[in-house]
Symmetry: C2
Subunit: 270 residues, 2 copies
Amino acid sequence: MVGEHAVYNGKIIMQSEAVVPVTLREVQSGFYVYESLRVIQAHPVHLEDHLLRLEASAKLINLTYPFNREEIASWVHALIEVDLVENASLRIQIYGGMQPQLFITTSEILTYPESFYTEGVKTFTYEGERLLPGAKNGNLLLNYIALEEARRQGCFEALLVDSEHKILEGTRSNFFAIKDGKLFTAQDEKVLLGITRDRVIKAAKQFGLQILYEAPSVEQVLAGSYDELFISATSMAAMPVSRVNGTIVGTTFALTREICSLVRQWELED
Amino acid sequence: MVGEHAVYNGKIIMQSEAVVPVTLREVQSGFYVYESLRVIQAHPVHLEDHLLRLEASAKLINLTYPFNREEIASWVHALIEVDLVENASLRIQIYGGMQPQLFITTSEILTYPESFYTEGVKTFTYEGERLLPGAKNGNLLLNYIALEEARRQGCFEALLVDSEHKILEGTRSNFFAIKDGKLFTAQDEKVLLGITRDRVIKAAKQFGLQILYEAPSVEQVLAGSYDELFISATSMAAMPVSRVNGTIVGTTFALTREICSLVRQWELED
């Protein structure tokens, strides 16, 4: 059963025992790196990519840990087996410090209503830049606060805007815009290098789109300068955006939906 | 015994049971507020000020909790009693979310060698600004990384520098400079409003110093433009700074030490 067991430093434990002391400085400071991935038909999707990024995140924040990709992968498979997991969201989380602590946990797979993909979702802009955006780390208060504010406003996602009014990424997604055969998204060094972002870019190229690493500005977006806007994440694939700050920015999402289908197809072929 | 018990939502528990699930979004996101204070001779120093700031921090990050100052104070006293605490560092930490979780824990009191006060400490500048600096919240990765880097360089504290090259505060302290009868420190809205910072300013006024809310720049500091530099925190009171990035910036600390003594005296009179 999903969420029954967990892994702690290689050992299978009950997931209810996957806890950390509130007195530990690394816990207090969010000094951890993590990955979220999908398990589909008992297969952890793009696991190797996620483990490579986990290592890259750790390096970026100077978190050293005594684990390697092969053993973490074997623990992921062991957990999937012991809980007979078919479909799930799976999280690998490593706290740093003198005694690094690695947890692997599972939860019900995140899915969204089909209407989100046909009608698009509402979003909301929030000013703020992430610390060390290239690292998937525990510094998530900005993301948490921005997303809560978005939800209070009836939105699905908050889009983080930098000091130059550019939309860099969502709180748990990457951000894209399409216009006249071109796909726009922020430069690599300014955002989280999403595993799904990579797939989206690859899919866009297959559909003949030119890729431009320029983050769209809030002004351009609100002025309706783009044909389609969407966000991407492991759980979402490519999800169309219909509104930003209440303004309608898209109604049909032909290319977004084709990209989405291709990204989902690749998951099954992984 | 210090650290034997803890408080969880008003109940006395073993401190070893003061743990949180790694699967909880608020834990993952550092969505918490906290206070650290000193217990001296079984008395929690400046407790009311700390509880007021705790509420202010919570408000700033939209963390609502169903506790009030009076009951938190009574739990602090209960913990001090049950563990027969004489001197300790005491931490109050509240995770937000659907079911807020309040912890009170104690640890050995932080003290520093007398030589730190007579000779000053080495510091190191680190570029980075805190999110919502006025709130004492769980977004501490910048502080953690900067302090670890400082320690690797043999320094006691990292000084956080903003995009205009101003030294705003330390990773766990406020920052001050003295020159010609004037005390310089960053504006209120840019830093954590330290309980000890308040006391330092009050003490400086008593010694006839004029208070100027202007953060010193790295250039001015390294050029030796100030007579004395120091940092303040609950655990440190006022601690003189002898070096910044390897440059000697102070050797005698007459005023800093007088301010430090007065701040410590007020703790005993609380």
